[in-house]
Amino acid sequence: MSNSNEPMTGPVTSADRPAPIQAIPVRHWGQMIAGVIVIALLAAFLYAVATNQNIDWSIVGENLFNSTILSGLWITISLTILSMIIGIVLGIGLAIMRLSPNRVLNSVAAGYIWIFRGTPQLVQLLLWFNLALFFPRLGIGDFSVDTNTVITAFVAALLGLGLNEGAYMAEIVRGGILSVDHGQSEASMALGMRRQKTMFKIVLPQAMRVIIPPMGNDLITMLKMTSLVTVIAAPDLLNRAQTISVRNFYIFELLIVASIWYLVLTTIATIIQSRLEKRFARGIAARPSTRARVLKNLKPGRVESIAAVTEPNATPEDHGVKS
């Protein structure tokens, strides 16, 4: 039945190619047995959960799109995005400071990274939330406000997550910057480009290829990390799920509701991440449109963006700097 027994009818090019090897593959008995055991255990677990009389699956269904849950979901999404933005901006700044020949800038950035990476995220959240204990009022001289009105649970959460992320992002960005061949910035400087432009036009765009994968990981970590803000009573997804279960006592069901949403979010984030990675893995030959878009998102409203160079007919107005 094999092809080799039949007359060759294919294209001429394959005429003198030998028949593919037909051999009985090595059987991995150990792997097969392990596979069977794992599947059996998994099935038993799923059966136990699905048929457990103590889990009321209808409660899960009823609460999945409950408006309280959805409001928590929204808070979780916005906390994630805003904290990541704070983290990225801060991270770029800190990374540049860290690589600067200026000792003071360098040490300040190193100290920042040391403190924020060396203390637990949860402790940082609690510190921001309790800021009013040390600084009852914030401001200078006559212009000050009650700390508790400014540092709401949401703001404390944002500060706690964003400032912490900045420290991690700084190391990621620094790694990305160091991955770009020194000849690139040298060529840029030799053309008369200033240090800052060299960084933002030449080095950082190329560092993105190295920065994006770990940044995607951080985004996913951040999605889950936001659940920590529950302890400072920020109304995130977990917190909303818990306020419902406090009333109806379906603790496990509502944790499942929250878990389903976390899974949805992390899955979406993972898909976005792998898309971005693929774009940037093409790396040096990346389509300018992608790059331009990412860059534009990084620093909105700059006139001389790469996009401006790419699109010959684009006027500055196209890039949103008119106003």
């Binding site: 060529a187 030799a190 053309l191 008369g192 480009m193 190329q206 790059r291 401006a308 160079v309 010959p312």
Partner: protein, 254 residues
């Protein structure tokens, strides 16, 4: 007497304990092709990089077109230039590197257009036109949309030359522009350089291409261990080297 394009007087440069340039004296006249020859480690690249202040000179005076590099002199005192002033000085000096160093995330055309737009704020339309002309001049009009990774070494180096020319420099520095190229690609780059020399550009060329030096060069300097050993016209130095070190070096490369 006209001002020389580059004038080096007793230029010294050390990296840590190691003195790489031990008092370089030379003059490069405007519109001449000045070739620098010497064994590896003799300080040729370092000297070239001092000219556009990619390296700082430790002692001596180095000036381009009558202007001190990296410093300004007022009332007999030297003041270091700040970063922006240094960037401004570099605008007029084009540099071509051994490893091309094209911006990897930009097309050939974008590479050439970059500096005039970013540094001089020239209108994009004019720059684009000029960039296309330059790419045509180096024989790459049809490759303008390609990324460096899609170009051969010779093509990349020609784009790099066009990129430097886009800033309308008064001086071009070439640091072994063909050393990283496959032998069959060397010619196309040398052709572009020859063409550039004919147009009257002042060029300082570090090269091991003796044929190019002999044919295109107006002056030739042989450097060894951080000093100028011998200088003259290429014909004099290459055919009738006076110094033993020059003779030894030439016997190896010729």
């Amino acid at each position: 007497m006209t001002t020389p394009m580059v004038k080096a007087e007793d230029v010294h440069k050390s990296f840590g304990q190691v003195e790489v340039l031990k008092g370089i004296n030379l003059e490069v006249r405007a519109r001449e092709v000045f070739c620098l020859l010497g064994p590896s480690g003799s300080g040729k690249s370092t000297f070239l990089r001092c000219i556009n202040h990619l390296e700082r000179v430790d002692a001596g005076r180095l000036s381009v077109d009558g202007q001190l590099v990296g410093y300004k002199e007022r009332a007999g005192k030297l003041y270091e230039l700040n970063e922006n002033e240094i960037a401004d000085q570099r605008q007029d000096i084009g540099m071509v590197f051994q490893r091309f160093n094209l911006f990897a995330h930009m097309t050939a055309l974008q590479n050439v257009m970059m500096a005039p737009i970013q540094v001089r704020n020239e209108p994009k339309k004019d720059v684009r036109e000029r960039a296309l002309q330059l790419l045509e001049r180096v024989g790459l009009a049809d490759q303008s949309h390609k990324y460096p990774s899609q170009l051969s070494g010779g093509q990349q180096q020609r784009v790099a030359i066009a990129r430097a020319l886009a800033m309308k420099p008064k001086l071009m520095l070439f640091d072994e522009p063909t050393s990283a190229l496959d032998p069959e690609l060397v010619g196309e780059v040398l052709d572009v350089m020859r063409n550039l020399a004919e147009s009257g550009m002042t060029m300082i060329v570090v090269t091991h291409e003796i044929g190019f030096a002999r044919e295109v060069g107006d002056s030739l300097v042989f450097m060894d261990a951080g000093v100028v050993v011998e200088q003259g016209t290429p014909r004099e130095v290459l055919s009738n080297p006076q110094h033993a070190r020059t003779q030894a070096f030439l016997s190896k490369v010729l």
